[in-house]
């Protein structure tokens, strides 16, 4: 295991091509992570147009969808992540 794998936060962002929504979502996510989880996170972006077979595994319906793989339990946030507070609550970064 590399150091990279042992990050406290593992986040996955599912997008369907580089649409306006997915770009917004990714930018928002990066911003929040830098602010709140600096150095403790890893973001994996999955483009479903390229890897459609991955959609089933994480039960993806909507795009963009942010999945918090680690820490457990899995949480999902869908949308362009424009509401910072909701995202942080959803990811359990700040208590509700």
């Amino acid at each position: 295991m590399t150091a990279e794998d042992t990050k406290k936060w593992e986040l996955r962002l599912y997008i369907a091509g580089h649409t306006e929504k997915s770009v917004t979502a990714l930018n928002n996510l990066r911003k929040y992570c830098e602010e709140h989880l600096k150095g403790q996170y890893r973001i994996e972006v999955i483009d479903l147009l390229r890897k459609p077979q991955l959609a089933e595994g994480d039960q993806i319906l909507a795009t963009p969808t942010l999945v918090r793989k680690v820490p457990e339990p899995i949480r999902k946030i869908i949308g362009d992540l424009s509401d910072e507070e909701k995202v942080l609550v959803g990811l359990n970064i700040i208590p509700a």
Binding site: A55, Q59, A62, P73, G79, V87
Partner: protein, 585 residues
Amino acid sequence: MKPDNNKKQKKDDKKQLGLQKTPSGISGLDEVTGGGLPKGRPTLICGEAGSGKTMMSVEFIVRGATQFAEPGVIMTFEERVPELALNVASLGFDLEKLQANKKIKVDYVHIARTEISETGEYDLDGLFIRLEYAINTVKAKRVVLDTIENLFGGLANEAILRAELRRLFTWLKDKGVTAIITGERGDGKLTRHGLEEYVSDCVILLDHRVLNQISTRRLRIVKYRGSLHGTNEYPFLIDNDGIVVLPVTSLELDKEVTSERISSGIPSFDEMLGGKGFFRGGSILISGTAGTGKTSIATTFADGVCRNGERCLYFAFEEPPQQIIRNMRSINLHLDKHVKTGLLKFCAARPTLYGLEMHLVAIYKEIQKFKPAVVILDPITNFASIGSLSEVKNMLIRLIDFLQNEQITVMFTALNLNDSLRDPTDEAVSSLVDSWLLVKDIEANGERNRGLYVMKSRGMKHSNQVREFVISDDGLELINVYVGPDGILTGSAREAQMIQEETGIAIRNYTLNRKDREIMRKRQVLESKIASLNAEFESVEEELNKVYEEEELRKQILNKNRETMQNIRLSGEKNSKPKKPQNDS
């Protein structure tokens, strides 16, 4: 039945050039829809919980994959894949095997609001991509979304959801897949979330009703754009072979008919029907009050059929088969013999065991398995206890239709509760059947006898006479009814009449003999008189002859004397003349 559907499909394709249809493979549904679901378009199946939406859609996919070489995708929003596989395994569908063979793909979409929070704009591209991926994996032609309405429970932003659903259905059409969308029935609407707004090509409504504690599933095609379709409510059921939809009647009445006849098993009864019996493929109703021998007639018919080496299927709704066999032994019918040879088969079920439709299907199936020449339903009256009269009638219409198609002769028995002819079951059924026999009690002189009437018998000469119907140790027999001065005589009155007539004959015979003897004696007297007269005549004749002969004799003697005298005189002249005067003196 499947090849029939295919045939039908081809026929309809010719008829309706505009709209192509995808046969569902669900028996009966393709007949009702005139060939299947609209090809390349979504169809909405809606109904309450437990109405059979999932079963129907899964069968659509499975039949497509196994019978029409059309792979399919099931996207389930409700049941997990193993659960779904387990549920439909009861219909004989092996989803896991089909999935392994790449015939179908099942994708379970899990939505839980607790796990998902929403921030900002999103779309359902994820779902589209999953669906497209699944379609591409098996090259699907059929898609089922069961039930997509669950999205409304999982996602809060209804505006986005509706827009996306509209996009989804358009997208499905563009993909050219024939799709089934299921939806839960809502208050005053076909579906809870108004899916019918988006899916407008074909809408099928399923319903599950319980009446008199007996449940019936029904199906109705609410709309089918661009196609003729049956508009009735069609009963259907789910059994271990899948879904069976039962069209009330096939729309056409173009059955093939035969003029071949089949004996009723009672020779004297065949005589009432022009001497030949029933038409093969016809339907016969025997009605009568309790204990008039309906079952006896039916079993005798069955016996006759089996004797001819044909198969007979006997549905007993009142008595257990063993009891029928035992009872019929008393009239010299040995049905167990036919059961052993496999020509006769009994199917016994209480009518209340399940609903009318289930009965009908059970009957259908047994008939298709056993392939009989004759089917007997004994009695149909009890069906009235599980359905209204019109329902029973509908069921029987369908049954008769089916049997006529298969050229199977059917005999129903019906119990009349009162003695009047206007019994409701009779009225309902009698117009459907080809021959209607009525066995009626004739009560007179303190006893009860049976009279048999042929109420109607289409297309053949039949007797208008009431016959006395006698059940004896040797079987059934019809006897001409005696019509006496006081009306019809039956039973012991008839016997009495017969004895009386026999006595009359004996007396008459005796009188005749006496007369003969009298004549003989008269003749003898006459003859003796004639003889004496003859004798008298002879003596008179003789007397007369005597005079005549004496006269003749005298004449002869006289002549002789004269001759002698002459000779003497002539000889005297020649020899001595003197002697001559001596002669003169």
